[in-house]
């Protein structure tokens, strides 16, 4: 292993194994979609519409970030959708029923998310339940609780008109704050995943949990941390969706988990664990929302939307697979 060759090889390596290519690819798919719709539909290529797409991406994007961490550990979280709902309800109760100020309600909502996430983590790390089952159970529990706490009625944030403005207001370039919140969250998530020990262990867990354990890493604790983090993101998503609806709707949220997972996987996160990136996930989330909005703008009937969405999910991931294959 002579240094010159090494450094040369490593440069090649970096090019091929680095997430770079993968992102470029997903990004390519997104660009193709955007160009396609822009080409066939003038109304699609309006700033207003692009803003709508950004806004529509926020909630799913943030859910998907949390899910990305979980999937990289080799796990899955089916409960993010309904956890999100529960968090919105918690927010609603704190600010309306309990009449506490927003700056208490928002942390409370996120805490609730982190709490449910921790429960998932405990069930998975300590009780050794398969993530699929633990979080499937939690999906129902969270949904039930959201309805019980809200008495199956929406909770309106009448007392807090500022709530809507804080998140949906457009002080910057006419883009609602939710969008900046999403990108802010993305930056944090990216740094955590790539630059911190939590991120490093997230990958290690997904790569070989036993080897990680035998390296003296407290895998249980870190796994719980990852699920808690995922719950935290769900809490944030809950806040955003609450702001958009100016209310907590106990019955929404079901099905959001699949969109989030799809976003992550389309973005190149591997369900077998050990691989993934936040950038990819964000792109994946954009692909989904662009598709949904694009299709309804060009007036595709609902049943065809289903088929096309299905095919795009398959196609996008397939593309990523082919890329990996050529690499390995």
């Amino acid at each position: 292993m002579t240094t010159p060759t090494a450094s040369y090889r490593s440069r090649v390596q970096a090019l091929v194994t680095g997430d770079a290519l993968q992102r470029i690819l997903a990004l390519g798919a997104l660009v193709v979609l955007l160009l396609f719709f822009s080409a066939i539909s003038p109304p699609f290529r309006t700033t207003d519409n692009f803003t709508s797409i950004l806004v529509a991406t926020a909630v799913n994007g943030i859910l998907a970030m949390g899910v990305t961490f979980v999937i990289i550990t080799g796990g899955i979280d089916l409960s993010v959708g309904t956890t999100m709902t529960l968090c919105t309800v918690v927010l609603g109760l704190t600010v309306t029923k309990a009449g506490l100020p927003l700056w208490i309600g928002l942390p409370a909502a996120m805490a609730a998310g982190a709490f449910l996430g921790t429960l998932n983590g405990l069930l998975i790390a300590k009780a050794k339940l398969p993530p699929f089952i633990a979080t499937l159970g939690m999906l129902n529990v969270a949904r039930g609780l959201a309805q019980i706490l809200s008495d199956v009625k929406p909770i309106y944030f009448e007392g807090n008109p500022e709530f809507y403005d804080v998140f949906m207001g457009k002080p910057l370039l006419g883009i609602p704050n939710v969008v900046f919140v999403m990108f802010g969250a993305a930056v944090i998530a990216h740094v955590v995943l790539t630059r911190t020990v939590l991120g490093r262990y997230t990958f290690a867990l997904g790569s070989n949990e036993e080897a990680t354990r035998l390296s003296g890493v407290n895998v249980d604790r870190w796994k719980i941390a990852v699920y808690a983090l995922c719950g935290l993101f769900a809490g944030l998503a809950g806040i955003l969706i609450g702001a958009r609806m100016t209310s907590a709707q106990p019955s929404v949220g079901l099905g959001y988990e699949l969109d989030a997972i799809a976003a992550a996987v389309i973005g190149g996160t591997s369900l077998s664990g050990g691989e993934g990136s936040i950038v990819g996930t964000i792109i994946g989330a954009f692909i989904i929302s662009t598709l949904t909005i694009g299709l309804s703008i060009v007036g595709v009937p609902d049943q065809w939307k289903l088929v096309i969405t299905g095919l795009v999910v398959i196609g996008a991931v397939w593309l990523d697979i082919l890329r990996r294959r050529n690499r390995a």
Partner: protein, 302 residues
Amino acid sequence: GGSATGSGGTGGTKPYIAIVSKGSQHQFWQAVQKGATDEATAKGATITYEGPASESEVDKQLTMLQTALDKKPAAICFAALDSKAAGPLLQKAKDAKVPVVGFDSGVDSDIPVTTVSTDNIAAAGEAADQMAKLIGDSGKVAVIVHDQTSQTGTTRRDGFVNRMKEKHPNIQVVAVEYGAGDPVKSADLAKAVMTANPDLKGFFGANEGSAKGVLNALKETGKENKVVAIGYDSGQQQIDAIKSGVMAGAITQNPVGIGAKCVSAALDAIAGKTLPKTIDTGYYWYDKTNIDKAEIQAVLYK
């Protein structure tokens, strides 16, 4: 929700009425349950009330109806997600001499002793006429529906669209989108529709969630009071929007009334009284002008 007033089951002297509705998680169905429960307590009957989580779960509703029959009730109130699909079970009820009272969109079958129904088609038609009036009988409008696979969804959509075709030829229904009754998804779709049709004059939101979606969309795009919004059912957000004029008006049925009439009709049937083929609980158009009237307030839920 299947909360039981008194113990479920055949026990006790009170007549037991099993109510199988179309839903449980929407406030509309909650209001129906409230009406039924109050009536039951008033008239001294026990009821159970349940419905599937979504209005597309035909098969799950059949299981509920079957379970209801197993409980040997004195009568059954049933809002069929699909009447024909329920045919065999209704036959069972008939054979078991359990009177069946149909409600909501009704049960097209001769088995029910009566049907406490609202004419969704006519109601949505009313919405169409109101819309026409509000936009000067010409221009583009769009419909946001909760889904295209449930009866409430399709009847309200068709009621609105067909009335426009028949009575208001100058009005184009440029889009029908399905938002699963999710106020956010519906909002995103409504925004897309407005993007595609910048000159859109009006929206009809075919249930509470869809109507909320329309309101959210208008709010987010700053088109409040620029685009006419018409809703369906009630709920806080719609009521406020109507009071503030953001929503021109909405159709409401009488969920509490439906619940109450179901139970009373069931009790009459048990008592062997003959009942009219249909009991129309009617629907109301409400807007700024009449929203505070007693008879409207009576049929609204928050």
